[in-house]
Symmetry: C2
Subunit: 600 residues, 2 copies
């Protein structure tokens, strides 16, 4: 397995050249002059250093060793605990946390930017941090002052960690079905009883205490999603000053055996009258969780980029090194026994595809992250609303598309290695196994698709879509006189019209038959995603061209961006046509068979 190398230059391209992070942060008084380009680069380099030297060496060994459960005690793979301690010491656990409780209060977008490298270097390890971050965020948003004082300082310091307990065996995508109960107690606490499954980081040895954020039902709560409340359930009870007391009645009863992310403990958690505390209003637990869920979805989108990047990185090294056959137009390296396989068009196509997905995905993630900053920090209500809407629209796209393309890139990574890709030692199959979870958890691709088309696009009567097409229109208007950008502008122009038309088409059909929405949704998500990528790749091409026109010394770097944009437009963007055609054929053949007639 090749050593991990953080893609710093590409991250900088997006952060500085495409989204001008420094200038963006200057818009918010709390960051003015603090987050200069130099400072941001220092964060990038510190993270890259930690990822390359501490995390990446534990990636393959963590996969092979996995986690162990012995009488409720979970041991993580060798080195995981020490890496967590170092991570906390370096201040990474406190990055974006509330400064009133020991956090550094840095912007979400910076955290997102850095997290890509974490998931590249060690996906399973980094999930412990992702979950803990989610618990902290939930406490910050919905906890009382008392609860924050009790739990946040140690979570932020990394001495304790947190996690989220949502899923039950019969309730995954449909959380309305959960059954875990919360009985009010005389002291104002609640006795939580039930079984949760798929609890990532539910139990482990990285921290002194684990703070569970748990969905449960109060007695006589309404059925379905409107009767779910949110609770804090610590592994060890905690006194008012935040000191650890006795063991609470929450235990890990089993570890799941999984396809991948073996280094992360996926726990079955048993709550047996465990002491819990209500967080947020009664029966509004799911609403409180939405903050977490949206952040988690962006986090998962980042994982998709990480998978594309890792698969690209591994496959590129191999493709330059491995010799097989000669180029079709004659030997390129006649001094060798055979040419390196990167000369073969089919291999190059896969590498270019991975590259286009990794770099396009990174741009999409930063695009989202910057709007997340605006929502959190801007005083401009109009800007805030626009960003909020854009975020709502783009989140399912980013979550579903970047994880699916991450999976596709991982598949290409294995494929470029040929038979060697199937062998554990080369590390490519681990990327494929780890990446597979990302299209399943935090809402499957199908759930995201329905969210996009039904809740975001159709429910807003197209308003959320129009925000996006207006941005595309703006790009078209600004660049239509450019001869060099013409191919991009022409295609965007056509796609924009087509996108609005197909949306109208679906809306119309859905009036008579709501199943048309479900039948169109996945194709619609893919279609939309390719168009969003086309917009971002056009912007990247424009920047690269400007840099070349300005006589940049990084001629090859910007040429590579331009050529990758052209590859995306030539070879990948036409996938829209398949999805468009599929949407047009409607729901009929999808719904035609009775459930009993699928097999005989």
């Amino acid at each position: 397995m090749p050593a991990y190398k953080a893609p710093i230059r590409d991250i900088q391209f997006v952060m500085h050249e495409m989204f001008d992070a420094e200038k963006n942060y200057q818009n918010f008084p709390e960051y003015a002059d603090q987050l200069t380009r130099d400072v941001l680069d220092q964060y990038l380099e510190a993270t890259a250093d930690f990822c390359e030297n501490e995390l990446a060496p534990l990636n393959q060994s963590g996969d092979q060793e996995g986690c162990h459960l012995d009488q409720g005690v979970v041991t993580t793979p060798q080195g995981f605990k020490a890496a967590h301690q170092k991570y906390a010491e370096l201040g990474f656990t406190s990055l974006t946390a509330d400064s009133a409780y020991g956090g550094q209060g840095l912007p979400t977008s910076l955290r997102i930017a850095l997290s890509e490298m974490l998931y590249e270097a060690n996906w399973a390890w980094s999930m412990y941090q992702g979950l803990s971050h989610g618990a902290m965020r939930t406490l910050e948003h919905h906890g009382t002052a008392q609860q924050k004082q009790q739990f946040l300082p140690k979570l932020i310091a990394g001495t304790w960690m947190g996690t989220m307990c949502l899923t039950e065996s019969h309730a995954g995508s449909d959380l309305g079905l959960i059954r875990t109960k919360a009985e009010p107690q005389a002291d104002g606490s609640y006795a939580i009883t039930g079984e949760k499954i798929f609890i990532s980081a539910g139990e482990h040895d990285l921290a002194e205490n684990i703070v569970h954020i748990v969905l449960a039902r109060l007695p006589n709560a309404p059925t379905g999603t409107k009767g779910i409340s949110l609770f804090i359930v610590p592994k060890f009870n905690v006194d008012e000053s935040g000191n650890i007391q006795d063991r609470n009645h929450v235990v890990c009863s089993a570890l799941e055996h999984k396809m991948g992310i073996h280094g992360n403990a996926t726990c079955v958690m048993n709550f047996d009258e465990a002491k819990g505390f209500l967080i947020g209003p009664e029966n509004r637990g799911l609403n409180c969780m939405f903050t977490f869920m949206n952040t988690a979805r962006i986090g998962t989108a980042v994982q998709g980029v990480s998978a594309s990047q890792m698969a690209f990185q591994g496959a590129l090294d191999y493709a330059k090194d491995r010799l097989a056959m000669r180029a079709l137009d004659g030997a390129k390296y006649p001094e060798k026994n055979a040419d390196p396989i990167i000369v073969h068009p089919a291999v190059r196509s896969m590498l270019m595809t991975q590259k286009a997905f990794a770099e396009g995905g990174r741009a999409l993630v930063y695009f989202l992250a910057q709007h997340a900053d605006i929502v959190e920090h801007s005083d401009d209500l109009q800007a805030k609303q626009f960003s909020d809407e854009l975020l709502a629209f783009l989140t399912p796209i980013a979550k579903a598309f970047l994880t699916e393309t991450g999976n596709e890139s991982a598949k290409h990574g294995v494929q470029i290695f040929g038979g060697h890709g199937f062998i554990v030692e080369h590390g490519m199959e681990q990327i494929a196994r780890d990446a597979r979870i990302s299209s399943l958890y935090e809402g499957t691709t199908e759930i995201q698709s329905l969210d996009l088309l039904a809740r975001k696009v159709l429910k807003s009567e197209g308003k959320l879509l129009k925000n996006m097409t207006d941005l595309i229109e703006q790009f078209i208007t600004e660049n239509q006189s450019s001869a060099i950008l013409k191919p991009y502008v022409d295609q965007l122009s056509q796609l924009k019209t087509e996108w609005l038309d197909i949306t109208q088409h679906i809306a119309k059909k859905a009036k008579n038959n709501p199943e048309e929405i479900g039948a169109a949704s996945v194709d619609y998500l893919y279609y939309s995603s390719y168009v969003v990528f086309a917009y971002l790749w056009a912007r990247m091409a424009k920047i690269a061209q400007q840099k070349l026109d300005d006589g940049s010394t990084e001629h090859k770097f910007y040429q590579a961006k331009l050529k990758t944009a052209q590859f995306f437009y030539n070879k990948l963007l036409n996938r829209t046509q398949q999805h468009l055609a599929s949407i047009k054929t409607g729901a009929e053949t999808v719904m035609a068979l009775d459930a009993e007639d699928f097999a005989f």
Copy 2:
């Protein structure tokens, strides 16, 4: 994990109703009246019984236990050896083998038909048989009478098994690079020295002896593919009467750790002056191997069908059982907490896709198998040549497309299970891991694509393609007056023209730039495959419609075939347009980047 159920009815549809196996066998004197429909059904049922009751129960345990190596001795998972003994006792090892040496001499097509169930029930176990069959076939085709007498009877009886030793660490797709040496000895044997990797079933405990068929170079052999010879190297030396003697110097030095097919021993084999015997002419080893390779490719295509079928079967059961949310047009099962997920269009789309791939793939495999029979048994030279050419044309399509669609189906299978799909116990992730190898071994998808476009289509100046388009044209002519088949006929008509046009287009561009072939090849293979599927689905639709018109009592079964055909035409066939568009944009953006400029 759901119990395996052999898809007998669907196999019968293809075998009897679509390809009329009984009638086909009557064309060959050796099978006349022997292989009636009843007899064929008995073979199907016996195999189904063995697969459901002996093999399937070992599938998950075999994956979890894997193979063990201790000082050169490989132990297969519990139950594997007993299953092999039973398989041999039931006469399955001798099915198609030469009757002069104890075989039953049954046709290849029957073996192919039955093997689908083997790979469904237990892929890793069935590979031992596949490899042994390959070795037997090679001996039958290229061995001397003496060699056959020495090795075949015990191989056919299953007392011994065989395998194929081709790959070396630096030589996979490009076998011209192999280095294993064969030094002639005074007694007429050869001393074979070298290291082979990825040797499936290279060492194991199922049989008393293992007969290796090995590629190696004679002293002063020409470099490249024209200097490779083929040798028989038994694990235990064998006297002239076929009795086991001393241990030969061939040992397994390591087992590969793999993504899947854990129950199959993938060995590094060391030959240290091992005693070997030349088989076939000197330096013609690769030519001798082509017989094996083509059979192996069809065998791998079958594995792709098996993956689609298994993923479909598992996911269908789950989709009928698992409850989540309500149908978009209102509760379908109001008495339940939620509707089973099969009501949701996105889930149905995945199931229908799996079904269309499994059943379409099965039809393609039988189509090939029937032509393989003609090549082997027909006296009609013209028919023989046509079948040979069609087989040459369709083999890369079947190998690449059925394994890729097998992988896609496996992905959908995991996806339909949601988070549960990632969990080992449900068995869906095993299907995905096992299936992954099929697009890598026996020639990657990229190698198959190049074989199809460069060697089969362009080198024959389109003749091999025209054989296929003539069949399509024939279907169009025969059915153009049918109102019911019109949608199929119209689309086939358009696709046929398009296919010939795009081939011309590539041929023209390739004259100036051979790289255009490589750049187009994978898209061309997919394009061609969807058209071949369209032809086969149209034929299936026609049969189903006829049965319905004839008042069949299996109304629902034939309706399901029709609806699946319609789904394929509506939802999957439009993927051709993406590949067509991609081909048209040519090689330029694929070849644009220098190898050093892919990353900075």
